[in-house]
Symmetry: C6
Subunit: 73 residues, 6 copies
Amino acid sequence: MTTNQFDTGLPSIRQVQNWIKEKITVEFRLMTGDLITGRVFWQDHNCISVFNANNEQITVWRQAIAYMKPLSN
Amino acid sequence: MTTNQFDTGLPSIRQVQNWIKEKITVEFRLMTGDLITGRVFWQDHNCISVFNANNEQITVWRQAIAYMKPLSN
Amino acid sequence: MTTNQFDTGLPSIRQVQNWIKEKITVEFRLMTGDLITGRVFWQDHNCISVFNANNEQITVWRQAIAYMKPLSN
Amino acid sequence: MTTNQFDTGLPSIRQVQNWIKEKITVEFRLMTGDLITGRVFWQDHNCISVFNANNEQITVWRQAIAYMKPLSN
Amino acid sequence: MTTNQFDTGLPSIRQVQNWIKEKITVEFRLMTGDLITGRVFWQDHNCISVFNANNEQITVWRQAIAYMKPLSN
Amino acid sequence: MTTNQFDTGLPSIRQVQNWIKEKITVEFRLMTGDLITGRVFWQDHNCISVFNANNEQITVWRQAIAYMKPLSN
């Protein structure tokens, strides 16, 4: 398992930061098989928090993310 | 896998702290596929402990959380 | 994934220590989906060791625990 | 779980760097069972980002990779 | 996820060391659902190596162990 | 989860090094349930790279290995 780094200079962290700024809808594929789709609200060392289409806040744990795919604006 | 930080200044930690204070019912989706729903009682570096609707205490390990979703007061 | 801390001052560690002292029967839900039920015998940094109803000793790895639920005395 | 190292001298990091340079198509098998196939765009400490055949950008988390297999140029 | 410690003073490490010395047959339940049964040959920081009933050597990674159960001599 | 160590003095690392030298065919059982069988080409801190029977190079991440079993020369 990876020991992730929350360093704002890293491309993976800047990419999420950009999705926040640009209000991009992103698909998160989780280890459970769940697909969480929404706009990213904030990220920190442990989690990425999104609002889905029903305007529900879902705080996804980084440890559970398999991949992320930006969909559109 | 993430090396989580238990730093009370982090949004992900403050969010849970707020759920404790506001007595919010929260849904925890676990890596096993289980859904644990309840009010958060305490959190520490390793775990988040909740009381479910049957007033059972369930201590969830952070390592097993895929996402968290606040439901209501 | 969490880097757990084995600090005897943490609520999650003291809770298990209390279950040992009070001879509480505890249910452990594992990442595999297994349910291990028994009385806790000892805990250390890596594992929690329990005796089940057949008096078999089962040493559960912390890394594999999704949640813990105390059942009764 | 492994604490991965992002050290550009490591064979596993240089291999990916070479796939970027040579525009190799690579198959990523994930812990979820997903197969992600594409050309690697960048890698950092946390993630490897690829473009698939539909030119979608998919950012795969290292923590979720089971194996990688280069397919062709 | 746990950052395991390989400290020979820990009960979980001494328990395995004792199984080696006493030639105990042990059942290992893995995250994959596999059951590996055999006598422990050696352990180190990463792995526990066992011989099964067919005298095959199987090197189990600690990261993959859900629980361990001693069966008999 | 385990924080693996890549220390060439460890039995688990030396065992793989020996398989490289002796051209042993090894079976890798992964967390996904996949079985990867082949000869080990190199290992580093993050990965073990093998050639399978079709002479395809497969780079397996240590974090995804449940167990390893040497088959034959």
